[in-house]
């Protein structure tokens, strides 16, 4: 195993709070909270970049700002204690890895690069004053990089309540939800079916649901006699790597996976655990509803997009928000119509982090930003050994003023070597973000 999983293995992150110099705790009274929110904490002395969101885009951006110019102060604001990797979380659902093996602290970013980690929740933005408003107080910035991820849209599912999320886990933000789905599978009785729903594109990680389908089917095939996986897909066919996934389903899971395309979730009955769709009602011993998605809630609170829209509009050259100057937006929450035809993947968020980091470092040093360049390679395991992949190289096109595809493609078939590369890829990209 990599050094990172040993070194950064989950532990009390006293170091993180110490590095920030402030407590991440907020007052338990609303009054205290408001008072705290109004005060500027960690007053700024030199050039400062604040990064909101310690996911794939945010961690990369924070690290690469420091690599680009160590004299810039970097504060990474994240409300959660640990980084839990979404890519590879399907491997936890199938039982190939433990949740701990895909969970890391932010300690190395603080230790190796002097990035200040502030564990608190961002509640709003004061763009005129260039201050990020958090539960711990206001934080001044010269440039703000926002990587808010996605928010789930449950409002169109009739009968939904907050508790429904534990009955029909999305398991699409890794962590507790991943563990719930894993537990449902383990507790499944032989012969009981698993239901999984796929949202209409665009959504985070296009191949993600289909890799999950392969791995749940793999688990059922080996552990739950007579159980099937019913995949209810809002799309008219598999949304990514279609030919390769269909081949794996045909060769390995013909009797396990029942694929029902063009099926939209309309409602749920939490008590009877029924999922209602336009193709009828479905019930299983385990049920994974992956809902439609939109930009993370902070993007709305900050005024980066109106309630009527789902994705944040950015300038494709620098990823600066079209609505707010000095605010850069990364990753899944960006509007592909304003960036270019790039997938909402962890790898793209990692590339975007480097683009935004280069842009803010250059701007803070009075230089022109560099043209953006993005890369994506996404592996999907189809069983415990073999993987398929898609890769893409994207560059800025001077004519269309958009990021455009320059090359790449699909793996010609599945192979065990790609499976080994899939595991290696996680080690490399985790180290590129977190250590």
């Amino acid at each position: 195993m990599s050094g990172i999983s040993r070194r950064n293995f989950v532990k009390a992150s006293a170091v993180v709070v110490a590095a920030a110099g402030v407590s991440g705790c907020t007052g338990s009274l609303g009054l205290n909270l408001n008072k705290q929110q109004d005060q500027v904490i960690l007053p700024k002395s030199g050039k400062r970049v604040v990064v909101l969101g310690g996911g794939w885009g945010g961690t990369t951006a924070a690290k690469y700002v420091k690599l680009g110019d160590p004299s810039i102060e970097v504060i990474l604001v994240e409300r959660l204690e640990n980084f839990v990797s979404c890519p590879a979380s399907n491997w936890v659902i199938a039982g190939f890895k433990s949740l701990q093996e895909i969970t890391f602290t932010y300690d190395a970013l603080a230790k190796n690069y002097g990035i200040k980690i502030l564990k608190t929740e961002a509640t709003g933005l004061d763009p005129a004053a260039k201050q990020l408003i958090t539960a711990a107080g206001r934080i001044e910035y010269d440039k703000l990089i926002v990587s808010p991820g996605v928010e789930f849209m449950y409002d169109k599912i009739e009968g939904w309540s907050k508790s429904a999320e534990d009955i029909f886990p999305h398991a699409y933000k890794a962590g507790r939800q991943t563990a719930i789905l894993r537990e449902q599978l383990v507790n499944l009785k032989n012969g009981e079916n698993v239901i999984m729903t796929v949202p209409a594109a665009p959504y985070r990680c296009p191949p993600g649901p289909y890799e999950r389908a392969c791995l749940i089917a793999f688990y059922l095939k080996n552990n739950k006699k007579g159980s099937k996986l019913i995949v209810l897909d809002a799309n008219d066919d598999i949304a990514s790597k279609g030919k390769l996934f269909h081949a794996a389903w045909d060769d390995y899971y013909k009797d396990i996976i029942e694929y029902v395309p063009e099926t939209v979730v309309k409602g749920v009955d939490v008590k009877s655990r029924v999922i209602k769709t336009d193709k009828g009602d479905f019930k299983g011993g385990a049920a994974n509803i992956i809902p439609n998605m939109k930009a993370g809630s902070f993007a709305y609170k900050a005024g980066l997009l109106p309630e009527s829209e789902r994705w944040v509009r950015v300038n494709s050259f620098t990823l600066e928000s079209q609505a707010l100057k000095n605010v850069f937006v990364l990753g899944d929450s960006t509007h592909a119509g304003t960036v270019g035809p790039v997938p909402k993947s962890g790898f793209v968020a990692n590339s975007m982090g480097k683009v935004a980091a280069a842009a803010v470092v250059n701007e803070l040093n009075g230089k022109e930003p560099l043209k953006p360049n993005l890369v994506n390679t996404c592996y999907s395991l189809v069983n415990d050994k073999e993987a398929i992949f898609i890769s893409g190289v994207y560059d800025y096109d001077e004519n269309t003023k958009m990021i455009t595809s320059r090359g790449g493609g699909l793996s010609p078939e599945r192979s065990e070597l790609y499976g080994k590369h899939a595991v290696d890829w996680t080690l490399s990209i985790w180290s590129d973000m977190l250590s």
């Binding site: 953006p372 360049n373 190289v393 090359g407 790449g408 290696d424 890829w425 080690l427 490399s428």
Partner: protein
């Protein structure tokens, strides 16, 4: 006299800007960083099967990337697809950028092997005759000590099978997989122990 001093100063300045700057400067800076998503920051790959590229020789990286792009080197489907997305100039600039970084020896655990027998094998095949300086290599001959072992084995097996054409590596036809395994373990360990 003054003129020649100025000339010397210019030569010195150009030389010190570094080879990657001459080969594209900001172009390499913006395109090369994305490779780290698979190869690790500055090419220090932590895994077993994806190679270390930081500190590898520029001439070798260029040769391989251009051959991959031209579909003349069937050693990696991923890299054939990736290379298709760059111009030759970009691939050359990326090669210079990574060559300029520090080599990071693989820390991956290796299989057990018989040390003295393996040293004899390496001497018999005269590996370090071409990969000079105990496997650091030079020019188009790559650094092999401290490389990721899974990658090294995969490539050597492809040379053995004749899938990558090379006169220099043709001897592997007659080398067994067990011997290749041992040489790979030795070469990887030699890096971290030097």
């Amino acid at each position: 006299m003054k003129r020649s001093a100025f000339y010397l100063l210019c030569v010195f300045l150009f030389a010190s800007i570094g080879a990657w700057a001459a080969a594209g400067g900001d172009t390499a800076e913006r395109t090369a960083k994305t490779c780290a998503g698979c190869h690790g920051t500055y090419g220090a790959s932590p895994g077993e099967f994806i190679p270390v590229i930081g500190g590898q020789h520029a001439e070798y990286l260029k040769k391989v990337l251009l051959e991959l792009k031209g579909k003349k080197r069937p050693h990696s489907i991923e890299m054939t697809l990736m290379a298709s997305g760059y111009t030759d100039e970009q691939l050359e600039a990326i090669s210079e950028w990574y060559a300029d970084k520090k080599w990071a020896d693989s820390k991956v655990k290796v299989n057990e092997y018989n040390m003295s027998a393996t040293v004899s094998l390496i001497e018999n095949y005269s590996c370090f005759g071409c990969h000079v300086d105990n496997g650091k290599g030079e020019g188009e001959t790559p650094a092999i000590t401290g490389q990721a072992p899974g990658y090294l084995k995969n490539v050597l097996m492809k040379y053995k099978a004749g899938l990558i054409p090379s006169d220099e590596m043709a001897f592997l036809k007659d080398v067994s997989e067990v011997e290749i395994d041992a040489m790979v373990s030795y070469l990887t360990e030699l890096g971290r122990n030097r």
